[in-house]
């Protein structure tokens, strides 16, 4: 009994977890330890759980996740920078029976796409927005983002973000939660197993609400950018807990159309 071999354990009937088939076999283009990969995976796991591969249209942004369509094994459209909610609006209006989501970074959603985001939210488009907030422009090499924290360093604020001259970080999630068209708003993370499980539940909830035509659902995932922050992945996750979470606190912000707290 004590001598169970690895081969005996590694049997299909004993499988606990493996990468979903809704992710392609292509190696992810993200930096080691980047939360994008985890976020991609749980979105795809939820779609798999919902058996909705043939019913889902995803919209990729411009930014690090511009190539999301290389990894997500569903029909996808790649939008111009910031415009994903406009594409999603049309897709959902023209095919209301489909599950439609955008996957956007903070530069895409909270800077160049502010108008498209706010207005899609305000119209209560029946779509889901997955918002990855790592407080920096990763793909272009670590420039200041609309979400960069006060005094946080980036390549275009090398001495730290001076809020007097560079403005304050924009809390888009709290902002869109104010809009009547928005049904569900939550802020989560994917840096620990517990947080991944919570975030996956949140995404499931968002998609379920979309299926029930409840209005716009918005899931922010506060994530790391170890390359941009110039830290190891483990350091970046710790730094995120200590610096990002106090400013961007995790938890539900709006549930069933009601603001929490």
């Amino acid at each position: 009994m004590s001598e169970i071999t690895k081969e005996q354990i590694r049997q299909p009937e004993n499988l606990v977890y493996t990468k979903t088939k809704l992710l392609t076999d292509k190696a992810l283009s993200y930096c080691p330890g980047c939360g994008h990969g985890t976020a991609h995976r749980i979105v795809m796991e939820v779609i798999e759980e919902l058996n909705a591969q043939s019913e889902t249209i995803g919209i990729a942004p411009v930014g690090c996740s511009v190539l999301a369509y290389e990894f997500m094994n569903i029909d996808m459209q790649q939008a111009a920078h910031g415009r994903a909610p406009a594409l999603a609006t049309a897709v959902k209006r023209l095919m209301p029976e489909k599950l439609v989501f955008t996957y956007q970074g903070d530069g895409d959603l909270a800077a160049i796409g502010t108008a498209e985001t706010i207005h899609a939210c305000n119209r209560g488009e029946n779509i889901t927005i997955i918002f990855i907030n790592n407080g920096i422009y990763g793909m272009t090499g670590g420039q200041m983002a609309p979400t960069t924290l006060p005094n946080m360093k980036a390549s275009t604020c090398p001495y730290g973000r001076d809020v007097v001259t560079m403005g304050n970080p924009l809390k888009m999630t709290e902002l869109v939660a104010q809009l009547p068209g928005v049904r569900y708003v939550t802020r989560q993370s994917v840096h620990t197993p517990g947080n991944v499980r919570k975030t996956k539940k949140a995404i499931r909830k968002a998609f379920d609400m979309q299926k029930e035509n409840k209005g716009l659902t918005f899931v922010e995932i506060v994530s790391n950018c170890n390359s941009g922050w110039k830290m190891t992945p483990i350091q970046s996750n710790k730094w995120m807990e200590e610096n990002m979470f106090p400013f961007y606190p995790l938890g539900d912000i709006k549930v069933d159309g009601q603001l929490v707290k």
Binding site: I57, Q77, Q78, A79, V91
Partner: protein
Amino acid sequence: MKELRLMKGNEAVAEAAIRAGCDGYFGYPITPQSEVMEYLMYQEPHKTTGMVVLQAESEVAAINMVYGGASCGKRVMTSSSSPGISLKQEGISYIAGAELPCLIVNVVRGGPGLGTIQPAQSDYFQSTKGGGHGDYRLLVLAPASVQEMADFAGLGFELAFKYRNPVLILSDGVIGQMMEKVELQPHQPRFTKEEIKANTPWATYGKTDDRGRNIITSLDLDSHKQEKHVTHLAEKYQAMEENEVRYEEFQTEDAEYLIVAYGSSARISQKAVDIARAKGIKVGLLRPITLFPFPKKPLAKLATQVKGILSVEMSLGQMVEDVKLAVECKIKVEHFGRYGGIIPTPDEVVAALEQKIIGG
């Protein structure tokens, strides 16, 4: 049975779009084209054909809604006027790059900048040479009547899907705002799901087990692939030049001089031809209906017959460059235009012909 109506150009293109089986219109108000969306909203086609009509938060959003809808294999369109069309250029470039069919209507007003709300033809370069970034062309139809505003909606969709390319109806404030008698085409049904699957197998309508995932993108980080893609686009534009050139000739049989004009300038020039002929000047008119592809061959042929060409445009002179290229500068080509929202009179056109071509 013929269905005749008295309509504005802007209303005609809207009504014709509904009848052409359009699935979605996404727009933003701007003078002098606001009647397009107003008409659609008043008609409520979602109750009859199921067509979606949505007022977007900006021209930028509207064209990107078109991108999203076109990606699903749907017949989608937008309309605007010059400053709004400038805002749409980013989206148009993406749409051309991703090879999506769609219809765009530009009811041109004077520019640059906010310019004026009066008619002009100063967006010719923007329309025919690409407009946004990158190597691409739109197929450009230039209506000269309210009837053509209606006819080009259906034709525009047909060509857009034939070539997987955006089609632009380049109208102007005159054609958009004036009322004329229009014969409307019967209703054509919207595409069914089965038709979309069969006719646009590249569209994103949900990945099924019988095919790989469909991806709509204009991005290719592999430059070799990108070059191949642009070469493919070039072949498409070449095919348009071979198959889709449309134009109209008026009194060219015995012409010694030629006016080239499109859209409302062509209507004015047609009257100018009559006035000139009454004065004994043998002048004809060539009206390009497609501005891209441009009627190069018929112009080159007429260049062996006439002594000089006057390009009449409500601009500083934009199409005149294409006329010169078409005739390879073998004969005299001059431009006459009013601009900034001023419409030339037929007498001014005749005077310009006499001064710049005959007397010059």
